[in-house]
Symmetry: C2
Subunit: 412 residues, 2 copies
C-alpha cells in the first residue's frame, strides 16, 4: 500500500515499448485522490467510430462504475475512458451512482461525445464517497495534455498497491493488413488494504464490430484473466475493456469465428495472457509464479475447478513458499475440489519430474532436480486425475509472510 513496497521479485525487467496506436490519445494526471502519492487519473480519448467490448466482476455487490459500464456497453460504441485510482467508488450507495453520472457528464463534455460513449473505472479505497469534484476539475487540463505516446504513464496512473506498471503490445495480420494491440493492466491482490482490484484496458486500431470484439474478449478472458488467482478474493470493481478505434480499415466486417481473424485472435489471447501473468507476478507478497496444469479430468470445466482448488489452497501455496514439493497437500486439494478423481490413478509431476503415480509416491524419484526446481521463481505443478481427458491451466503465486504483512500489519 505504501510507495516504499519493494518491486516484486517476479516483475519483468522493464515496461515494454508501446508505440502510438491510431485513434487513441491518453493523458495522465494527479487530482489528489491518492493524496500526494502520485498520478491518479487517466483520460483516454478515442476516434468517434470506436467499438467496445467488456467483461466485468461476477461480484453480487459490484461497484457503481461497473454498473454504468455494463449499461453503456449495450450501445457498443465508445469515445472516452476515464479512470481514477485512490478511491473505488464501491459500496457508496446512491451517492456512488451520482459520482459516476457527474464524472461521465464532465468527460463527455470535454471530449464532446454522448455520455453513453464514456466508460469509467475506479479503484482504491472502498466505502468512502468519491470526491468527483476533484476529478472533474482536473479534466480540462487533462484534455489539453492528451498525447499518443504516454502508455507507461497511463499504466502507472491506474496503479494502487501494484509494485510495477503493466503493459503489453502485439501486432496481427487481418486479411493482409497489419493491426496493432496495446494493453495496460493493474492488480496485485483481488482487493488489497482497501485498495487494488483488477483493471485492464486493451486498444486496437483495427475496425471490428462490437459483437465480434465481445466474443473474442470473452473467449480470451476465460483462458487468461479468468484463469488466475492471487488470494481467491474477488473485487467489486474488476473491469476489462477492449476498444477498437477503427482507424485501420480491414477488408471485411468479420464475425468472431471468421478464420481471417485467427491471427488477431491469437495476438489478443497472447496479450491478455501476458497481462494476466503480470498481475499474478505482482501478487501481494509473491515470491514464486506457479503454473498448475490439470489433465485427465471428467471435462475441461472439472479440470479448471480442480486446478483452482490447488491454486487457491493456502496449504499448497505456503508449501511452495517453503520450497517444499509437498504432493500430499496437492492430493488434498484435488480431493476437496469435489470433482471426480481416481485416487489410485493420480499422478503428480513437479518441475517435470513425476513424483507420484498410481496413487502412490514414487520412492525412487530423483529429489535433487525437484529441490532445485522449487528454489526457482517459476514453479510447475502438473496433475493427472486419471478419469477422462478434460484439461485446464491456471496460474497463481505463493502465500508468504509478505502477504500477511501487507494485509494485516498495515495499521501498525
Amino acid at each position: 500500500m505504501t510507495s516504499d513496497t519493494p518491486i516484486s521479485p517476479l516483475a519483468p525487467d522493464s515496461f515494454p515499448d508501446l508505440a502510438p496506436l491510431a485513434g487513441v490519445r491518453l493523458a495522465a494526471g494527479a487530482c489528489g485522490l491518492k493524496g500526494d502519492s502520485g498520478t491518479d487519473l487517466l483520460l483516454v480519448e478515442m476516434a468517434p467510430d470506436t467499438t467496445v467490448a467488456g467483461v466485468f466482476t461476477t461480484s453480487k455487490t459490484a461497484s457503481a462504475p461497473v454498473e454504468w459500464c455494463r449499461k453503456a456497453l449495450k450501445g457498443g460504441a465508445a469515445q472516452a475512458l476515464i479512470v481514477n485510482s485512490g478511491n473505488a467508488n464501491a459500496f457508496t450507495g446512491k451517492a456512488g451512482d451520482g459520482s459516476v453520472e457527474r464524472t461521465v457528464a464532465a468527460t463527455a463534455d470535454v471530449v464532446t461525445c454522448r455520455p453513453s460513449k464514456v466508460f469509467v473505472a475506479s479503484t482504491g479505497v472502498i466505502g468512502e464517497p468519491l470526491a468527483d469534484d476533484k476529478l472533474t476539475a482536473a479534466l480540462p487540463a487533462l484534455k489539453e495534455s492528451l498525447s499518443d505516446d504516454i502508455w507507461q504513464q497511463a499504466a502507472t496512473a491506474i496503479m494502487t498497491t501494484d509494485t510495477y506498471a503493466k503493459g503489453a503490445t502485439r501486432t496481427a495480420d487481418i486479411g493482409g493488413v497489419t493491426v496493432t494491440l496495446n494493453g495496460i493492466a493493474k492488480g496485485s491482490g483481488m482487493i488489497a488494504p482497501d485498495m487494488a482490484t483488477m483493471l485492464s484496458f486493451v486498444f486496437t486500431d483495427a475496425a471490428l464490430p462490437a459483437d465480434t470484439l465481445q466474443h473474442l474478449l470473452a473467449d480470451g478472458t476465460a483462458k487468461s484473466f479468468n484463469s488466475i488467482t492471487v488470494d481467491s478474493d474477488t473485487s467489486t470493481s474488476d473491469t476489462l475493456l477492449l476498444f477498437a478505434t477503427g482507424s485501420v480499415a480491414v477488408p471485411s466486417s468479420y464475425g468472431a469465428d471468421d478464420p481471417q481473424l485467427d491471427g488477431f485472435r491469437a495476438a489478443l489471447d497472447d496479450l491478455l495472457l501476458d497481462l494476466a501473468h503480470q498481475v499474478v507476478r505482482d501478487g501481494e507478497g509473491a515470491t514464486k509464479f506457479i503454473t498448475v496444469k490439470v489433465g485427465g479430468a471428467e471435462d475441461d470445466i472439472a479440470a479448471k475447478r480442480i486446478a483452482f482448488s490447488i491454486a487457491n489452497s493456502p496449504l499448497v501455496k505456503t508449501a511452495v513458499a517453503g520450497e517444499d514439493a509437498n504432493w500430499g497437500r496437492i492430493v488434498m486439494a484435488v480431493g476437496k475440489a469435489g470433482e471426480k478423481a481416481d485416487r489410485d490413478k493420480l499422478t503428480i509431476t513437479i518441475g517435470g519430474i513425476r513424483i507420484a503415480e498410481d496413487g502412490l509416491a514414487r520412492l525412487d524419484y530423483d529429489e535433487a532436480p525437484v529441490a532445485e526446481h522449487m528454489k526457482g521463481t517459476d514453479i510447475d505443478i502438473d496433475v493427472d486425475v486419471g478419469v477422462a481427458r478434460g484439461r485446464a491451466t491456471v496460474w497463481t503465486c505463493d502465500l508468504t509472510h509478505g502477504y500477511i504483512s501487507i494485509n494485516a500489519d498495515y495499521r501498525s
Copy 2:
C-alpha cells in the same frame, strides 16, 4: 508440528473433567509412529451392544481408514475403535487398504469381536506407508491397560499439530433417566505440515438405535463441525463417530424426531459445538476466534455460503489479525459468494456496533468500542444482506504470520 509450538492463546484454561462412562474403556500408548514425540495410539473397547453413527470427509480422495469406516457403518454396530496419530494412511494406494485390514483384524482379535465392529482412524503424515506392524504389535499390551478414567490421555494420543487436548462432557435426561455424553477431538489446520486433520469421537451410555444416532449426528454436525473453517482446506481423513454403549437403559427405542429426545439432542448439539469451537481455537497461528453471523439471505443455505465466503476470505482474516474493522473486505466477501445480496440494503455490525447500513458506512458510528472489540480475542461479525430471512452462523480464526510460519517455514 514441533512439540515446542506454544499453546494457542485461545485455548480453554484446562481439560474438562470427563467421568467414566459405562460401557467404555480406553487405553493410550506409544508405538513409535510419531518417533519419540509422545503417545500415538488409542484403543477403545466398548460394550457388545454398542450402536454407532458416523460423518466423514467429503473429499474425493478419502483415506483408506475412512473408506473402511463407511463400509463398517452399514452394520450400525461397534465394539472397538483404534486410532493412530503420526501417519494418516492416506494416498497409500492398495497398500493402505492392506494396512487397514491387518489393523482391524488384530484389533478384533484382542477385543474378541467381529472385524465389522471395529472402527479405525489415522492422522498424520500423508503418502507414506503405515507401519501397521508397529501398531498391531502394541495391541496386546494396550488391551491389558484398558481403563475407564483416562479421557485426557485419550485426547492427547490422537493429537498431531494440536497445541492442546480437546474434550467435552454433557448429561441429558431421556424419559426420566440421566445419560452422559463424553467426547474428544483433534484438529488444527484441515491439514497441517503433512499432519493434522479433524477427528472426533463421542460416546454416550444411552441405549439408542443406530439410525436414530445417525440422524441426530448429521443434524448436529451441520451446525458444528460443518460450520467451522480454519483455512478452507479439507482433509482426506475427517472422521466423526458417535457411539452409544447401551449400558444405560432408556424407556423406549426412540426415533430421531421423538420429543423425548429433545434434551439429548440439545446436549449432543452443545457438545459437538463445544468440540468444534475448540478445534477452531487451536487453528494454526490463530490469535482471534471469529463468529460470523449472516441474516437476511434468500434461505439458510445461501446464508451459510455467504458466511463461509466471509470466514474463508484471506483478506477478512488478515484484517481481523490486524485488528482492523475492515467492512470493505466483508462487502467484497459477501459479493463473491455468488448469492443474492442487496448492495444498497447491506448492514454490517462488528462487536455489536452497526458500522454500515443501507449500503453505506455510518459516518457517525462510535469507533472506540469497535476498536476495543477488535483488540479482544473473540470477534463478532454480523451481516444482514437485506434479501429475505435465511440465516446461518459459522466460526473461524484469523490468518497470521503464525500460519505461514507453521506451513511454509518448517523446512528451514
